[in-house]
Symmetry: C2
Subunit: 140 residues, 2 copies
DNA sequence: GTACAGTTTTAGACTTTGTCAAATTAATGA
DNA sequence: TCATTAATTTGACAAAGTCTAAAACTGTAC
């Protein structure tokens, strides 16, 4: 990921302190929620409105600069690793999220056996399980 | 799927009119939301509280009698087809949901390349796209 | 069939996550 | 620097679901 200011200019987006800070927060805290990111941004630039966090995240997502993932039972999470077709591994009990490479090669998951006439543009894969820390907790 | 009353008794669940009606509604309307199901139940038995619909759906889901799926931008949907490892195909514009068989065979999706120490118990796959009806609409 | 104990159901307030809209403020280009 | 355009803020609002306490019901024992 290159410097945030360059990224914004490349997408014809006015450069603001809020956008820079949100971009940096996403880069430094992959899989963070909007709330987490707001907290990070506040530590960096002092203040930001809740709405601005959502605005910025929505714009960045629309432009494809960041990616939004929305696992069940969790608010949306964001990451700046885009365009590499990776998937996610989510802990059922604490929500910890890890990246995993596409399970079967390049971009294979885009083929369902019976497409029902749908035009498929994405195959989203979420592996659900228990993270090492929560495994230890439940054993004790 | 066998008769709803038998199903409830097999799981040591007291048989109530609400539970029977919700179970039947799920069976007759796969991929319906809690709201849809409440509406169906009301047509069948006259009345049910919103909370009861959620209670019943939660109990049935916990017992593994029905399955909950939660695609992004959509309230939870329910189906009584459980235990066969199938996936879903969701229309981005209208939310229409179809079942698709597991893409790569029996239950292969349960293996991620790097499991990060997680104990994986489910691989959830959602294919996103545009359903035939919405394709026609957007072309016109 | 009745009564009891333990669940379910109900009603209504509440929480979380996110959006809408209008007013204010800031960024860009001449 | 100024004007224009766009972004940010504030506060109200919305959807989906949970929490709690009270009332009603189910299943079982008598």
């Amino acid at each position: 990921m290159q410097d945030p200011e360059t990224t914004l200019r490349q997408h014809d987006l006015p450069v603001t302190a809020q956008r820079l800070a949100v971009l940096r927060a996403v880069a430094h805290h992959p899989h963070a929620t909007a709330d987490d990111l707001a907290e990070q941004v506040r530590q960096e630039i002092g203040a930001i409105s809740r709405q601005s966090v959502y605005n910025v995240l929505n714009v960045l997502t629309d432009k494809g600069i960041i990616r939004r993932i929305q696992p069940a039972h969790s608010p949306a999470r964001y990451e700046d690793r885009v365009g590499d077709n990776h998937h996610h591994l989510v802990c059922r009990s604490c929500g910890q999220t890890e990246d995993v490479c596409c399970a079967v090669g390049a971009a294979p998951c885009l083929h369902a056996h019976d497409q029902h006439g749908f035009q498929i543009d994405e195959a989203e894969v979420i592996y659900w399980g228990t993270c090492p820390a929560c495994q230890r907790k439940s054993r004790s």
